[in-house]
Amino acid sequence: MIRFFVNRKKTVLFVWGLMVVGFLFAITARILSGGTVIDNSVGVWFLEDDPERANLERYNQDFGEKEWSILLLRTDSIYEPRFLNDLRNIVSRLEKLDHIVKVTSIVNVRDNELDQDEALDYKIIYPAKWAPGRTLAASELAKFKDKLFANPLFDRNIFQKDAPQFTVVLLQNDNYINNPSPYRIELVDAIKTIVGEYPTVKGYALAGTTIVNAELNRSAKRDVFVFYTLISILLLLFGWFTLNNFKDVTVMLAVVIASVIPTMGLLAVLDIPYNMVTVMMPTILIALSVAGVIHVINVFHQYCETRHSSRAIEQAISHLWKPNLWTALTTIVGFSSLALSTVLPVFQLGVFASIGIFIGWLATNSLAPVLLMIFWGGKSKGRANNPVVIDAVVNFVVAISSRQPLLKIGIALLTLIPVWGVAYLETDTNYTKFFRESAQLSKAYNEIDAAGYAQNPVNIVLRYPGGHTYSNQAFFQNVVRFEQGLKQLPEVIKVLSTTELLRRIDIAFNDEETSEQQFRAYGANQINQLLLLGELSNNDDIEDFLLRDKTQAQIVALTSYMSTKELATFENKVQRLRQQYLPDDLELVITGTTVLWANMDSQVSRTQLVSLVGVGTFLVVFLIVIFKSLRLGVIGIIVNALPLAITLGVMGWLGVKINMATAIIGGISLGVVVDDTIHFITRFKNGLRNGLDFEESVKETLKTVGTSIIATSIILIGGFSCMASSDFLPSAHFGIFISLSIAIALLLDLFLLPALLSLYRPSKTRAGKKFFSLRSRIETAKYQPGKYWSGRE
């Protein structure tokens, strides 16, 4: 097969060139078309048939595709006329922004009150008629404060009686689940621009899922640029460091480009936008596609020492295609396990990374040999010197390889200590903690929290059974009690509901506050007529909480931002209240973007588990089969399971949570680190087959494969470390811990694996049975130490 490619150099180059150029064109066309390249809309995280997504979509259909964002403003005093005037300007400009549905602030909030004609009106309590530059007189200000203080719905919602330096502007904005356009980023930028223009505003903080989503998108865009730049630089640096010459670096880059561009082009052709997970794909592919070609380049040069380059490349490929195929296969299995995920971006990463690795394997076995022939074809000896450091490390490892294997195993066992950290590992996501503490979003959430305002609306939807509505007396009584219970929950800062608005209408209509008992006892007539009065007095806020046919009502519980675990606990408490107060046939659904994200966590945990179990099981079977030895298979598993166990343990100790990015570490880590072990054991076995004893075979393997293992590990660590630069902590954690896992695996491959193999000394008879075939004995006769594969010539 290799001869087929080498004899058709131009065809191979043309085919690969055409494919790369074609897909590059697709990527360019997509970017230039102005289509959505980055998409972190809510819908992108869920499969079409996800029940929680269906829940939110139904909610959006019923109550409108809207969600609340919170804008905290800090000033000297919110009652300062100049500030109020600026706030009027700010609100007026915010209202005009695209995708803003409603703005509620102290200067435009409405309440039921009597006008000068004693007519009931749901009107703005801020007294100044709109006129630029007009500020409130002292008497107007006093009246305004009285009205603001009189309505309990406003307190801790848009202002606080005892904290006059803060006020909150509530922004109701579009919440399109499936709209991939970057409207959230534009909206957030527009809000910041407006607020930043007013000197009386001393500081501001923006929170809400819209803002988080916008920042995720922004972070993804930044990551695309930073990751790709960094990985390119690192690839060149490490490539140069390990390969030490321009031609080999070019071969390596060609294979990387041939695997990354078609894969990313495929995403472009299929119109799949990037998201926070798939944005990592090029970095991962660059790192992974390098591994195979490094082995090919190194072995090629080793063979060039004893034979012509055309023969050397044939031999290198024919000896490496199998371990390269196995390593590609294990990595593909690692990534494919992610395709079992119901979290769409994780699924996409699994599928497309697998395709990319397969393309990389094809390029390694077709494009790389052709390029090596072109670059080194005229020379009988193209061996480039290994870097001194790598040679020194290899020599050191070789020197100690046969010494005190038990001690080394003992030391390796000590590394198991961090594994206990696994017990502390938990799945929990706090989206506000997805960014570094120094990030604006993190600061904003902290500031809003410190000011005592809620940052998170939890939507509780009540769906009434057939023939019943919100105004049904029995249901109403229960719902009022339920809401009272909800207010008592420690997580709840404020409850907004139809009942709260109805209470205000009732007070306005009856000129006095009805007792709680009387209010609860209202019948359908009273409730419906009060609601009608609300409609007639222009109270359109009711529409946010109650459908027109009153078959569904929503209660908004305003809370501090909750991690997914805290939210799950809160949901349980709400469900307990439901059982306590609400009839069984009244359906209660807790929904909203935050809830949807939280529900993703359980799916993420499932991904982690399925991925780990799936890949682990595959590897156990696969290693035993390819090594044709139970013991070698077990050794392979031990050496590869340890790095992951230690990494997960370290994550547990450090309090790093399993979330959508770190969840995929398990499967990928196993799939990646096993590659070096496969190359090592394959070579080791061949050494035995060629007549070397165990010690010699280990040393020979370390001398040859060891160089490639160190080189590929350095490049992989460098590649994945790029992600540590991300502002988006899950991506950063993914990069750091995969790198850690690879580093540990490298150490174990170099120290523990030889020790374990040194202990693996089957009896001559068994060894003969197991490893020696007639052919290998013939080969043994031709074996020359230091020229490992020469027996095949």
């Binding site: 004609d117 007519a119 105004s471 009856n510 359908a524 009273q526 009608l532 007639l536 222009n538 046919d549």
Partner: protein
């Protein structure tokens, strides 16, 4: 050279004529627009009173519908709008709820509500004419009669609507607090009846469209649509009002439209 001077003089003469004639032309469009509306109101003058049963069908963006039934009574008031009474019949929970409305040409309307469950009458504000009428896509100002003094008018063109040749007249509110920047009305030339109205918001975006269909003539003179259909282009909601049992000159008087009568309505 002479030819060039002649051309310049010729063009200057045309330009001067255009500049001089321009105010007259625009004035004629405004006058024409006002004349058309005056004819509309003139033809409806003197109806006295009318009553009708109305089925209000509210449809949301998802297509779910919800109905309300009410009885509407209207009394013509000389030179100052109408007095209107809306009495809810269904759903059962709001049966007997009544809204009394005095529309005025320039000033804010007066409005009272009676809630039978509380047996109380309360005056409610109608300063905000843009507010939705009982949760429908109709605003209060859409339901009030077109009084000549309420708007500035401009005739735009003729256009066919539903197979009828219509005047297209632009109405710009002359009163404060309107929810609209302008309205484009389509008035059929044969009977001077509104066939369609496009409502534009303050950003001059098309907000709503009102279709008035199935006109019937009563007592040989007064035309009323049987179906009025308002489509909100922003929220994609729809309200259809079906007008049944329309009767003119039933003998209603000012006493039937006093706030004290609200409690005794059935």
């Amino acid at each position: 050279m002479k030819t060039i001077i002649q051309k310049i003089l010729y063009i200057s003469a045309i330009a001067a004529t255009w500049v001089v004639a321009q105010p007259a032309l625009s004035k004629s469009a405004e006058v024409l627009g006002q004349e058309i509306i005056e004819e509309v109101t003139r033809r409806d003058d003197g109806f006295g009173d009318f009553t009708s049963d109305v089925t209000m069908v509210l449809k949301n963006a998802r297509g779910d519908t919800f109905e309300r039934y009410l009885n509407v009574r209207s009394l013509e008031t000389k030179n100052d709008g109408e007095k209107r009474l809306f009495v809810f019949k269904k759903p059962r929970d709001i049966k007997g709820t009544a809204v009394l409305n005095y529309t005025h040409v320039r000033e804010n309307d007066d409005q009272w509500i009676y809630l039978p469950a509380f047996k109380r009458v309360k005056r409610i504000s109608s300063a905000n004419k843009t507010g939705a009428f009982v949760g429908s896509e109709f605003a209060y100002e859409d339901l009030t009669s077109v009084e000549v003094g309420k708007y500035h008018y401009r005739y735009l063109q003729d256009e066919m609507v539903d197979g009828l040749e219509c005047f297209v007249v632009e109405l710009t509110p002359a009163y404060e607090n309107s929810g609209y920047r302008r309205q484009i009305t389509y008035i059929d030339k044969a009977n001077y009846l509104f066939r369609r109205v496009d409502f534009y918001d303050h950003d001059d975006q098309l907000l709503k469209t009102l279709h008035l269909t199935e006109y019937r003539q009563y007592i040989g003179k007064y035309w009323r649509p049987s179906i009025t259909r308002m489509v909100n282009h922003h929220n994609r909601k729809l309200t259809v009002m079906k007008w049944d049992n329309i009767r003119f000159q039933t003998g209603l008087s000012g006493r039937d439209f006093e706030r004290n009568t609200l409690k005794n309505l059935r």
